[in-house]
Symmetry: D3
Subunit: 246 residues, 6 copies
Amino acid sequence: MSRIDGRTPQQLRPVTIERGWSKHAEGSVLVSFGDTKVLCNASVTEGVPRWRKGSGEGWVTAEYAMLPRATNTRGDRESVKGRIGGRTHEISRLIGRSLRAVIDYKALGENTIVLDCDVLQADGGTRTAAITGAYVALADAITWAQTTKKLIKPSRKPLTGTVSAISVGIVDGTPLLDLRYEEDVRADTDMNVVCTGDGRFVEVQGTAEAEPFDRDELNALLDLAAGGCAELADLQRKALDAALER
Amino acid sequence: MSRIDGRTPQQLRPVTIERGWSKHAEGSVLVSFGDTKVLCNASVTEGVPRWRKGSGEGWVTAEYAMLPRATNTRGDRESVKGRIGGRTHEISRLIGRSLRAVIDYKALGENTIVLDCDVLQADGGTRTAAITGAYVALADAITWAQTTKKLIKPSRKPLTGTVSAISVGIVDGTPLLDLRYEEDVRADTDMNVVCTGDGRFVEVQGTAEAEPFDRDELNALLDLAAGGCAELADLQRKALDAALER
Amino acid sequence: MSRIDGRTPQQLRPVTIERGWSKHAEGSVLVSFGDTKVLCNASVTEGVPRWRKGSGEGWVTAEYAMLPRATNTRGDRESVKGRIGGRTHEISRLIGRSLRAVIDYKALGENTIVLDCDVLQADGGTRTAAITGAYVALADAITWAQTTKKLIKPSRKPLTGTVSAISVGIVDGTPLLDLRYEEDVRADTDMNVVCTGDGRFVEVQGTAEAEPFDRDELNALLDLAAGGCAELADLQRKALDAALER
Amino acid sequence: MSRIDGRTPQQLRPVTIERGWSKHAEGSVLVSFGDTKVLCNASVTEGVPRWRKGSGEGWVTAEYAMLPRATNTRGDRESVKGRIGGRTHEISRLIGRSLRAVIDYKALGENTIVLDCDVLQADGGTRTAAITGAYVALADAITWAQTTKKLIKPSRKPLTGTVSAISVGIVDGTPLLDLRYEEDVRADTDMNVVCTGDGRFVEVQGTAEAEPFDRDELNALLDLAAGGCAELADLQRKALDAALER
Amino acid sequence: MSRIDGRTPQQLRPVTIERGWSKHAEGSVLVSFGDTKVLCNASVTEGVPRWRKGSGEGWVTAEYAMLPRATNTRGDRESVKGRIGGRTHEISRLIGRSLRAVIDYKALGENTIVLDCDVLQADGGTRTAAITGAYVALADAITWAQTTKKLIKPSRKPLTGTVSAISVGIVDGTPLLDLRYEEDVRADTDMNVVCTGDGRFVEVQGTAEAEPFDRDELNALLDLAAGGCAELADLQRKALDAALER
Amino acid sequence: MSRIDGRTPQQLRPVTIERGWSKHAEGSVLVSFGDTKVLCNASVTEGVPRWRKGSGEGWVTAEYAMLPRATNTRGDRESVKGRIGGRTHEISRLIGRSLRAVIDYKALGENTIVLDCDVLQADGGTRTAAITGAYVALADAITWAQTTKKLIKPSRKPLTGTVSAISVGIVDGTPLLDLRYEEDVRADTDMNVVCTGDGRFVEVQGTAEAEPFDRDELNALLDLAAGGCAELADLQRKALDAALER
């Protein structure tokens, strides 16, 4: 089977990770998985939400959103509708949990980091691109808090690992890595997998869109995803190795 | 390791499925998994949402909610807050998708069934109890639509299978089936699995609450869940075999 | 005239008051007036709303709601609509005022009790069943606060009396006690009366649904209601006399 | 006992009913009960709400609100808070029901009349002033619809009677008519009574603010209210007898 | 060209400024520009919003709204819609900014004055009438705060000048002052101008409703507006020169 | 006086207009005025809002928003707050009006174009950059509707001119063109001017932030703005002269 864009089933789309995109945010990454482009801005503030005060521990959270015309047909703004939709809520929570899986709250100290992941252009895999890019923005924001602003002692290690995410799915009976939108809508099963850099799982969310899937199919998808996440972890590492001018 | 309530790791809590609980709903099930009690009411209406009109196909959707004092400390009402929380959205969507996985829209015809799953008392596993009970309410509602109201031809089979759900998790290194609240809060990994009666997967949602999990742990959890779902499918069948007085 | 269910005009429906229904709430009562079933949960918390701090006085309030399919046709959830309807507001306020009529705020101390009255199944008289059941849940919650949690000195008497409520109405020219839904929609005049155990009035809310009513009709309705409330006060007493296992 | 403003217990405050206050509304009345001033505008539109279409019957509804500084201390705007409070809901519904009690829907035809009752200055009794003034605005709007706009045949009688309302209460043991704000806050019992011009009751809403009330007190209050409503009916008649320039 | 009401192009409508309209507000003005009537109530409270605490400086803000039937056809209430419209927001902000232009925050001390401008009847120019009336209410409120309540030292001068506003527009090629509604809807260009008593500009908001306007037209409009504002400043002065009974 | 970035008082920041930024929108422009970056997406749909149906005329509207971290400190999302702020409302309306000033509704036919202007990075002048970029996106969307989709006959000219906008202000007594954020906060007077390509005015919005301004200052600002708009009109023309690959 040949894919729309000529990729092999286990091949990622071209991935770019552009650090320092915005001049205001403490960490700012424009990540692209093919035509999917997500701006991930990390904002650091001293202090924590009320329920955590005095604990000596920090907090990391995320908000995901799509520009109204990020997709092929325009969607109404959630601010205009006056309420956030279920899908937005769900993805914001997923990104937050994924990043918190590699955070040592004690080492972070009573500081809060908010990750804003705004989809500028969508073509499938926006939540996995958001997690992958947000990790890099988070890392930059922590470095800023340790060096520029001295909110965290440089000797501490608030990050206990790295985290990246990828989508996989079964299209016409074939398990595929990193689905574009056109593949995604045709998939029988759709799975998003979040892994740490050492190959363990943070989130596994598989959904039968049409036909229920069996254990063998699940295993094939997990194999594909593990490979994709490892590649992404490598790209994150390379991106972070470069110097960041501020 | 011995569990709080003396169960073995692979043992379900006592499960009851009480059909015909409310006199108003076309399908009405009070399901309990131990102390977790969820009232699942199915409402059938002729017609479908606007975006589906003229398609000849039906629709099934779900709304999940908790009574404010279903939990140990009182939660604010979402109606009073004026907005639905992310968790509520997420679970409502999960229940809807799970039920739609066993629906033949064509056979259902242009009819809509809404499943209201209201948690009267919570002790872990509310979403899995909701899915398991909602399936039975859905089956009763379809029978009603075929026999009492003649909305669907009796020869059609709108249900293509059965669906049930269970939670599993790793607590102190041991994979456990059907977590109670006290186990749930201590779990390193928490997974909700939705299966069809023939043992295939509809949803797999695993989350590392503390430590990321590896492939072996994932496999152990999937084994446990598959067993639990099979038992629940059996209990659903038995419940539905009994006559229902209206 | 014979009523749908064979009752005499001055006869209550079968009333049950089940204490300790939920394991979480400090007071929990499932009350039924015939097919009307309301779950009344009392939640005690130390402290009072901001506007009452430092007064040495407590507070009691109530929230009423209906499950979407408590009625014959499904109603939209107020949480989904994003706003509470006028009827819900009105009844919540009525329940709160009724209970506060028998509360000695000083004796309660700076503690707050919230009564959640959720209608699980509706067949007329939901607000009067809610008040009648909520009183019993309130009494249990106060006992809990005095004995289990020691929030209130056992020597104090935060309850100055008992309170119960009943609906009355004129149907086809005949005054009837405790209307079922089918009677309620046909009533010319509809009245809800809240009484203390010593036979005085806390609330009298009479509404001409079709024809205005004269003073004689009003008097007949008040007589009926006073009798019904006295019977309910007796049932409340009997329910509270039994031991409650926690 | 002498009242703050020197009235006898059974005496109304000075009442004025100014018709044609606004040039836009089909009926427009500025009513004052002493310092309480309410602007009652009636808007007539052809057609009825969707649920009533094709019935040949009309509809009358009301919306009550207070200007933020109608009271002694400024209240937040409900439009700014984004939600309507329980008290506002309750009073809007009361006004609507009261007016509908004297409407013949068939004679009204498929037309809708909305009564906007906006409190410009409050000093107790705003809801009863609103009902009393709204009735006059309603009568003017119906005349307009019959004469100016020909929406209703002049031979029909959409009004089956007149309606007015007054508050009564027990202050320091004495039943008083038409409470000012300072009396209202000190009242043990507070009752709002809506009567037709022929002396029958449309609404009786009595509330024990402090002490429950007995049947004798209730009777004394009803007597006072009946007298007050009769006086108001007379004032309404006189106001409507005058010619209205448009 | 002759105007609907016979005015010359540079003539204001009859303007009235009635002080002390409401007995509750610290400053209360009913202003009318012809048939446009706006009630402007000023509320003084000790203290400032959180973001200004400890600054030693006060705050002045405004809220504008229209009664639903202030206009020729009834508009839905913003409180019922649950959100404030763009036009309301825009005008509230304009009034607030205009008044703050003549406030010395230091002299005001840590006190807040809120101006509620509620349009009772609209016939064009509601925002300019609101600003003109609100200034007088503000002046009265400051006097109250200095004399009656002693919140501000009498020696201080919180007002650095006076402020008034007028609308101008080009109708059928002729620049006109103080447009009525019927003129406003036919205007090619519509401009609102806010001036201080010494003839300088606080706000200039010109909008081409149909045809863009050139520099000459702009100049003609500014000339007209300056003249109108000067007349209004004079009327404000006269109104404030009279004694105000409280 | 020398400006922070070395510009002369009458010099624009570097302006870039990047067409075809997003692959989904019918017109898509990333405009930058120095560090201010706004993504302007134009969405064309057949049909018009209900109130315009059957008129044969089209509609153009705009929505403006800022990403939460477009600014130096993070702002809360309006979708999360559940309401749109006054500033957002105001600017959305301004952009819509400005574009409609150069639209011939008849020539557009019953089609709707929505301009989404999302600020990705803010450094002063976001509304003027948005108008300037949105015009170009609008032009591209109209071309698409005439050529690719044939919604509008190619012979028609829905655009009657071009429109651009610039901010001007008085800082330390000197009138400056195109203020950066740091200049904007220090400005005594702030004015936004929208002009057509032939040098006429569409909107003039001047605000005294600190000191009221006199007629001479107003004239100096208008001169500056007219020059800036002319330069921008030129840049728009050049941008649109280039071929656009789709």
